[in-house]
Symmetry: C2
């Protein structure tokens, strides 16, 4: 029901679309616009996991496959729900047997642009990320060897893995499971948001309030950490939001300096990926802006400023990606 090959056409065109068209136009904010980068149509593709149609199709199937969970009803798409901004819109992730985790589910949208994965950055890339939630006791609670056994039972998966990894003797492996899921996720990007159109020269794509919000976003220092095309430096910063005792990256490194540090989350599509913060305790974007002002920047934003910045952040919601609801075997 979708155009399967459109992402292939798009990846070919994305280099062109990355070029700014706005050189001659000016709405008085040229200096500000130049600080930002439009979202490319595709993130970097790692040399050891080329993006092929076969892997993306397989990854799409696996993303929706609940039978690689212990209960048989939880898939990646349960918490990363395409109907809910590829997240879950509840404070903290709910997984196997209704267990509730400690952290808010990050959206998978544009996750290929992040230079580390998970709130604590414990994996460097999507290949490393993909298997974690399958194994985690409070998420899908499935031993990877059992997941591989289940997939191997289906002749359709035997075919699709063989097609995606034609040089492998045993193509159904944990490595290839991770690579296929990562490949699919690298197609889940949201280009052409109003802000991207603005950066590319459509100066009417943002209204006056949204432009004021852009200025406030820069002038108040938000852009220091929320930088780059995905509005994240992929770096770790110390924050304890209301209600959180989570030690963050300290759990990964054991180093004192990493206490309470979390990776900067992307702001792309932040308007549709509520609630906010590592513990999901912040319901609205206005509250989130106020908290970031006071906790990270030491500023008590006035209501007008909060509204302006919030309006700007809503312009970062892009075109939702195409995908298949696969017919699983």
């Amino acid at each position: 029901m979708q155009h399967k090959t459109s992402w292939i056409a798009a990846i070919g065109a994305s280099a062109l679309l990355g070029v700014s068209l706005s050189a001659s136009a000016d709405d008085g904010f040229a200096d500000y616009r130049e600080r930002f980068e439009p979202l490319p149509h595709f993130p970097p593709i790692p040399a050891d996991n080329s993006l092929t149609e076969e892997k993306v199709e397989l990854g799409n199937m696996l993303f929706f496959e609940p039978r690689i969970s212990a209960s048989g009803v939880i898939s990646c798409a349960t918490c990363h729900n395409p109907a809910l901004g590829w997240s879950d819109r509840i404070p903290r992730a709910t997984g196997h047997d209704g267990q509730i985790g400690e952290r808010n589910t990050p959206t998978v949208l544009n996750s290929g642009f992040l230079e580390s994965q998970f709130w604590d950055g414990r994996e460097p890339d999507l290949e490393g990320q993909a298997l974690g939630p399958i194994e985690a006791d409070i998420e899908m609670a499935m031993q990877l060897e059992h997941a591989i056994e289940r997939l191997t039972e289906f002749s359709l998966y035997q075919e699709k893995f063989a097609a995606a990894y034609p040089d492998d003797e045993d193509p159904i492996s944990t490595d290839n499971l991770a690579k296929a899921l990562a490949s699919f996720q690298r197609t889940l990007n949201t280009p052409n948001s109003p802000f991207d159109r603005y950066l590319r020269g459509d100066l009417d794509a943002l209204d006056e309030q949204e432009k004021r919000g852009m200025v406030a976003f820069v002038d108040n220092g938000c852009a220091a950490c929320h930088s780059g095309p995905a509005f994240t430096d992929s770096n770790f910063h110390r924050i304890q939001v209301p209600g959180s005792t989570d030690v963050g990256r300290y759990e990964v490194t054991g180093e004192e300096r990493d206490m309470y540090r979390f990776r900067t989350p992307t702001l792309r599509n932040v308007g549709v990926t509520y609630p906010y913060m590592n513990n999901g305790a912040t319901a609205t974007l206005e509250e989130a802006v106020a908290i970031m002002g006071s906790e990270m920047l030491g500023r008590e934003f006035e209501v007008d400023k909060i509204d302006d910045i919030t309006a700007f952040l809503h312009t970062l919601t892009g075109e939702m990606p195409e995908f298949e609801v696969p017919a699983l075997p």
Copy 2:
């Protein structure tokens, strides 16, 4: 990403398509073919719930809406998963907090053709059926008044309910929730299966084995209960399949004669709605055919006959319906 209005065109055309085109053709099985009815494109629409585009769109949203469950992560689509034949492909339904119910999840495909709903027929129609799983402690575990409160929080639902029920003062109600879900489900039909094409005159739509299976299906009495366009008489028959102690319809009526009686399940798409039986303990269609032969018909089918009937049953898999993965508020 789909053609929103195609079901409207289809409902207009369905009367035409219901006409048999095969009057002049004959492959030697005319007497058998005449015992069957092709699946109409649409089931009967009740007078008090007209099928409108607005209700279907709203019902589509609600079907995928997990926030009308207590956990916030279970929707109708969790167990009635479009990727899995609009069922779950596990033996027994798994719901709130990982609780496992007593019965296998029936597919919602073509459920509008059934004259009673649930394995025990405790509701007469889809309007009656729709609210049960939301409330059930082992499914979505949500009090209906809380579901209504949650939906009312979203301005988009306020708009969509008002558009679907323009004459209602308080359009967000349990009645209208049920009507919208029922309306959406009435669009989830699977016409144009190989067998339907065969009945309409494409005599090559079935191969020789499948035709032998059709003959065996009639001659052995399967068609006595699996009758009508959806291959069910919507009636109740006594059966205790291996491993089941479920008393079935007795739970509804309390009448001794209803002990162990279950409503005949549809055989439409039975090839993609495994596992089988009220307890889901039967993994393959071949086993299911053998069990039905011995338990219901007092016949021990030979392997060849089982294979023929199974081949025939696979011809009942039709075209999967179009639907939206909605953008939820």
